[in-house]
Amino acid sequence: MPLQFKNLNVKYRLSGAEDNTITALNNISLKINEGECVSIVGESGSGKTTLALASMKLLSQNAIMTGSVVINGVDTSELSSEEMRKIRWNEISIVFQNYGDVLNPVHKIINQVAEPLIKNGESRNTALDKSSKMLDYMKIKTGRSMLYPHQLSAGERQRVLMAMALITDPGMLVLDEPVASVDAITKLYLAEVIRKQVNLGKAVLLITHDLSFAALCSDYTVVLYSGNILESLPSEELLDAPRHPYTRALVRSFPVMERAKDLAGVRGAPPSQTSTPKGCIFQPRCTQSIDVCLERSPQAVSTNGGGVVVCHRGGIATMISVENISKSYKDIEVLKDVSLKLDEGEILALVGETGSGKTTLAYLIAGTIKPDGGKIIFREKGLDKIDRKEFAKMVGIVYQSPRDSISHRFSVFEAIAEPLVIHNAFDNESAGKIKNALREVQLPVDDYFMRKYPHELSGGELQRVAIARALILEPDLLIADEATSFLDPSVQAKILRLLLNLQNERGISMIFVTHDIGVARKVSDRVAVLHDGRIVENSPTHHIIENPQHEYTKRLIDAVKSSKISDL
């Protein structure tokens, strides 16, 4: 077992009182085997670098560490600094985050790379020889190895650091943000180098905020949040099937080439590290928290994907599952044996041509029509067992045509207040709530505007009013039924952006019914393609777009892409 962290806690003492500390790492236990690469991902300040420094016993003076770091069976906390120095570079080496000042500015890089070897007692010439070869291997052009650090580009400096770490051929590598400042081609090359080292039997701890690099290089990915491990999972699942809401939020924030969906940051801000909350540390930013999340911190649970997730709800929970549902209108079979799952906080697009049954499916899920067969489960409870009015409170619907969906007799204020009135929730605070809702959808909040009638508003404004109305009861599920197809492209773009922002801020689940797969591509996490009342394909959006499996999906995408009409 080359590298192991056992119940590692690190606090930094701040100036002033003795107990004035911030928690950097909280009870971290982690193993890295030979021939294995584990990546640590998380936002800035999550404790990634502290972990790297702790592994090298390089923590600063004001750090208080408990627990242990075990290297090749030796607990480093018991070693003297002299003994530790021997282990460093020979058994474990680190590539520091490249800030430009980690290299000595007064020495040529070839000498700096050779330095560990010389210290180990190798002759200067062999050391320089090896160093030159290593720099070659790291694709530093011959000749440039004689330069000083400031004469190199950031990418080159990064490779020099990598060369320094590899020159002594240690069994363990700690890489702290090795690709933060390099271009895509260098990044790919470094990934190859890392993979090669792993295959040679090295244990690699890769610290990065680059999720696709983590997915590319590592075997396992550990998600660190404010010093706590929230999830660890096989890296190939990182981008497509994260289990923890935080991991999903990170993935949504991260630009990946093939994804067209707009990026969204993780809502809220990381917690203050000076105090530990009673419940789950991620709770304030979590989109699916329940009562218990406020009270107790969660335990790690194994997932069926081979990972571990630290969450009371066992990771991202399923909000709605539709099981073998069918629906007919008189003789016409609209839906045949449809099954579908919708996770908490997920955006699902139902795509298909007109008459494919997508709207019927959406309204079945909304509970406004009843299925002929099969069942719908909402948060582990059958939909038929939930009070209709109670359920209506949890579902907001935005309709295709705002002109028709809002009564022409209602002013803007009355229209948004309607759900409150229906659920007897209209009280003194409602006016403030309505103003907030208007602000959220970026409409004016003055009395003059709130007294306007639908015929005095534009289609885009009216659809915003409809969105505000759908969100006023703070629903858990928002159904947008062709919500933008009546609008012109500019207004559509604004409304889509608005919906996405609201979804991200509130963490609600969304079903986006659209015939336009181009729109679905921009907004959804997952696409379900409906054809003749059946779901013919249901996968992450970028998979469907890049690699459609079903004939019908291919036709649908080709139809959108095609720029000319075939000869008749």
């Binding site: 209506a392 619907i397 309709y399 809002i406 009564s407 309607e418 009135v421 229906i422 009638y453």
Partner: protein, 284 residues
């Protein structure tokens, strides 16, 4: 299309004229007990007196003050018209809306009753009932209401059926709204033009019928009525009483009916902008 009926009505000259006439006549009618100078059921002077300061329109064949009689007769007409309209509209509205919302067998039964009533000439039924049973005014009001609500019910049902499929009503239902809420907030306001129209039309019919039947002498003869006044005045036309006896009664009745007709004309124009002269596009 959004219409603010009251603002539109204020701008409509025909409607305002009708309303002012109607309000004037009905105020007079309401105030009849206070402003009538004499008891219309008791003789106050010799018969066939010409107009004077004491008897503005003179006296009739048995010495009753004609002006006081006229005020009380107008009161009967307005009361009759308004009550019949109110009852008929209420019945029509309730049955029409419920038939549309409930549907099924109930709808079928209600609509067959409507069909049946449409086929029966209401004036004939009323003549028969009045002639045979000699009922009181109140009973007649109810009888007439019961046989003329059908057109309102039919219109209301048709309108409600079309409203039912409107997206904003579906949206309210999807928000969890109850049927009562939907009726109150979404359907009844939309039906306002229908029952405003219905009310005025039915009031007009009722006023006319009451006058007609009492003219024919099949109403309670002790009730003061414009029809009875006309019928008596006709008998003494050779005495040259048409100016102070017949004409006031005829004019009052005509004004009442014309005022209602003007109001209904205005309402129809407001709610159906196609009827409006000039720039049609302005109403969209």
């Amino acid at each position: 299309m959004h219409i603010r009926p009251f603002q539109e009505f204020k701008k409509n000259r025909i409607g305002v004229t009708g309303l002012v006439m109607f309000l004037l006549l009905s105020t007079t009618a309401i105030l009849a007990p206070a402003i009538a100078p004499h008891d219309p059921w008791d003789y106050s002077d010799r018969s066939f007196q010409p107009s004077s300061m004491n008897h503005l329109l003179g006296t009739n064949d048995i010495g009753y003050d004609i002006f006081s009689e006229l005020l009380w007769a107008l009161r009967t007409s307005v009361f009759f018209g308004v009550s019949v309209a109110a009852i008929a509209c209420t019945i029509g509205l309730i049955l029409g809306v419920s038939a549309a919302l409930v549907g099924g067998l109930y709808d079928l039964v209600v609509m067959r009753i409507v069909d049946a009533l449409l086929a029966i000439p209401s004036i004939l039924v009323l003549i028969l009932i009045a002639a045979y049973f000699r009922p009181s005014t109140m009973i007649l009001v109810i009888t007439l209401s019961l046989i003329i609500w059908q057109t309102i019910a039919r219109g209301v049902r048709a309108q409600t059926l079309s409203l039912k499929t409107k997206l904003h009503i579906k949206a309210a239902r999807n928000m969890g709204a109850s049927t009562v809420y939907i009726m109150r907030k979404h359907i009844l306001p939309e039906l306002f033009p229908l029952y405003a129209m219905g009310f005025v039309t039915k009031a007009r019919i009722a006023v006319f019928m009451e006058a007609g039947l009492s003219f024919l002498g099949i109403f309670d003869p002790t009730t003061k009525s414009l029809g009875i006044m006309m019928s008596y005045a006709m008998r003494y036309l050779y005495l040259d009483v048409w100016f102070n006896w017949l004409l006031p009664a005829v004019l009052s009745l005509s004004m009442l009916i014309v005022s209602l007709a003007l109001i209904s004309y205005a309402i129809e124009e407001i709610f159906d902008p196609r009827l409006k002269g000039g720039n049609n596009a302005a109403t969209v």
